[in-house]
């Protein structure tokens, strides 16, 4: 039992860190520009496809990962410059319409280029096997994801809390007009941030590729999870995104693994088999509703 819990905790940590990669870009876009970007999931999907294609072509997973990040950063800059820039001052409805349109376009473009079949993405050969941890074996590749996730989290933490650029970002998130008045070029800053967010989403797409399927529509599920993360954490806060992502990743993974067993212990098997999966799949939404009930601005509100 302890082993199972430990293993699921690691899985939850791994999933949470990937959610953080996706949510960190999204929360800054939301926080600084007050802009709803539904197409963030498409950046994740595009990254997974680019990564899978580049990895297949070059035979190297690392090349695929780098190609996905650079490619999606470039696409992100283009999108921001050509389209999203025009939407910052529009109302939320216009943003919903435009970015929903981007989802439709992205899904069909991907189907056009790579066809309707899911792409296959293999983890690097050296990491295909399991490693022995204290008492149980765990897939080496998942450990790598945890490592990469932690490194990125550390990088973002240093970037946001200990550099000048990070200071501008925080200033922009807490009070944009004031930051602009003090001479921060929020527009330029935002193009850069959007590219960084796109690259991180692409990294998550490629890293998760071997574990989940690389297929059309993969962005739609993950987008909602990312929204839940940033709403829990507080829109615009990187620290909130990290805590929110870990909470969502661990609660979701542990809930799916343990709830059915726990329910069997306290109720009849029939009730447990019906209620277990349903309850497990809505745990994170219950978590979000509860947190919003007590703290309507999320755990770490960015706006003062």
């Amino acid at each position: 039992m302890t082993q199972l819990v430990l293993e699921q905790l690691l899985n939850g940590l791994q999933f949470g860190l990937m959610l953080f990669l996706i949510a960190s870009g999204l929360t800054l876009v939301f926080g600084i520009m007050d802009m709803i970007n539904l197409s963030h999931g498409s950046l994740y999907m595009g990254g997974a496809y680019l990564g899978a294609a580049a990895a297949q072509a070059s035979g190297s997973f690392v090349t695929g990962l780098l190609a996905a990040m650079l490619g999606m950063a470039a696409i992100g800059i283009m999108l921001e410059f050509l389209l999203l820039r025009r939407l910052y001052l529009r109302d939320h409805l216009a943003q919903v319409l435009a970015t929903f349109a981007l989802i439709l376009i992205a899904n069909d473009l991907v189907r056009m280029i790579w066809g309707p079949q899911p792409l296959l993405l293999n983890p690097p050969e050296a990491l295909a096997g399991p490693v022995e941890l204290a008492g149980f074996s765990y897939p080496a590749y998942r450990l790598l994801i945890i490592g990469v996730g932690l490194l990125v989290a550390l990088f973002l933490y240093v970037l946001v809390s200990h550099t000048r650029v990070g200071m501008w970002v925080r200033a922009g998130a807490s009070n944009r007009p004031m930051a602009e008045a003090l001479g921060v070029d929020v527009r330029w800053l935002f193009t850069g941030l959007f590219a960084l967010g796109a690259a991180l989403a692409a990294a998550a797409g490629t890293l998760l590729g071997p574990l989940l399927a690389v297929q059309v529509g993969m962005g739609e599920d993950i987008l909602i999870l990312a929204f839940v993360v940033i709403v829990i954490g507080g829109i615009g806060s990187i620290r909130g995104a990290l805590i929110g992502a870990l909470l969502v990743g661990i609660v979701d993974t542990l809930g799916r693994a343990l709830l059915p067993t726990l329910l069997r212990a306290v109720s009849s098997p029939e009730v447990a088999s019906h209620l277990g999966p349903a309850l497990a799949s809505i745990m994170i939404y219950l978590l979000m509703a509860a947190i919003l009930f007590w703290r309507p601005q999320g755990l770490f509100p960015a706006r003062a």
Binding site: A98, A101, P296
Partner: protein, 312 residues
């Protein structure tokens, strides 16, 4: 002729054309399109109900699929239990949607702006995941209807009758919308959109007015869902998924937020475009997406704004 009279004339002409459409399609030997026209009417009804919440109530709700799909599942569930009469199941579909909307609305209206959008989205996803994880709801496959609901004395098994029933529902809804927007309640909603704090200071029960708007819209969406289950012969999980909420919202914005015919125009434009492009290309959504981007950038008030229709 005054502008009002021109408008009523156009309205009457469109209504007569809509009533006669099945005969025309039969004469042309294109009965297949009666089903498509019914789908248009049903989505027009659903989009209009969302437009009431978004455009009249000023609440950007991103979880309308919960009520739309929920209505469909209520009809399918009751049919499995042996209750086939539409006189019972359709009002129950509305009733369940209203009940769900009361709970969701009461909690969501504590939040504002982006948080309201997110929390309505989250509640709808919660319902989606609960339903697909229920074995008795058919899981990912949805819940098929063994037959259409019965609506004595009418024969719903006939496609044309179902079309007319959907048309009646839509027309009643549009008339009610017109009445409502000119009523005291409609004026109060208009005031709320302008300045919530002032209305509160004037003594209006702001939260209750908004909740009522949310609940009315949800009830109508429940009816639309019940109709769609009959048209498709299936209560499908995709009808509950967040992209369905997105599609309905796109119809509203495309047609014109807060315009009486916004939902109708948006549904016809989007589904019509989908159908027409679907005949020509495998990648219809690519072109629809590009068209929507063009609307955002060049026609910020939607199709109704382009056509110069009056508000309210």
């Amino acid at each position: 002729m005054s502008k009002t009279r021109t408008t009523s004339f156009v309205e009457a002409a469109v209504l007569i054309a809509a009533i006669l459409l099945p005969f025309l399609l039969q004469a042309l030997g294109e009965e297949f399109y009666i089903g498509f026209a019914t789908r248009l009417l049903i989505f027009a009804l659903a989009a209009t109900s969302l437009n009431f919440i978004v455009g009249y109530g000023g609440m950007v709700a991103f979880g309308h699929a919960a009520f739309f799909g929920g209505g469909a599942y209520v009809v399918a569930f009751l049919m499995q239990a042996g209750i086939v009469s539409a006189w019972i199941t359709w009002p129950l579909a509305m009733f369940v949607a209203v009940g769900a909307a009361l709970a969701i609305g009461a909690l969501s209206l504590r939040t504002r702006g982006v948080y309201f959008i997110m929390i309505t989205l989250a509640f709808a996803q919660m319902i989606y995941y609960s339903v697909i994880s229920l074995q008795s709801a058919g899981g990912d496959d949805g819940l098929p209807l063994e037959q259409r609901s019965t609506l004595v004395p009418f024969d719903l098994a006939n496609d044309t009758t179902l079309y007319w029933v959907a048309l009646v529902a839509l027309v009643i809804c549009l008339i009610a919308l017109k009445r409502l927007s000119h009523s005291r309640y409609g004026r109060a909603l208009a005031g709320l959109r302008q300045n919530e704090q002032r209305m509160e200071a004037l003594g209006y029960p702001v939260d209750r007015l908004k909740l009522a708007c949310f609940v009315i819209g949800a009830g109508v969406a429940g009816l639309a869902g019940a109709l769609l289950a009959n048209q498709n012969g299936l209560a499908s999980p995709t009808q509950l998924y967040w992209t369905q909420s997105g599609m309905l919202l796109v119809m509203v914005i495309l047609g014109g937020v807060g315009q009486r015919y916004g939902g109708v125009l948006g549904a016809i434009a989007l589904l019509g475009l989908e159908e027409a492009l679907g005949l020509m290309t495998e990648y219809a959504h690519l072109y629809i997406g590009l068209a929507l981007l063009a609307v955002v950038l060049f026609a910020p008030r939607g199709l109704a704004g382009l056509a110069g229709l009056r508000r309210g």
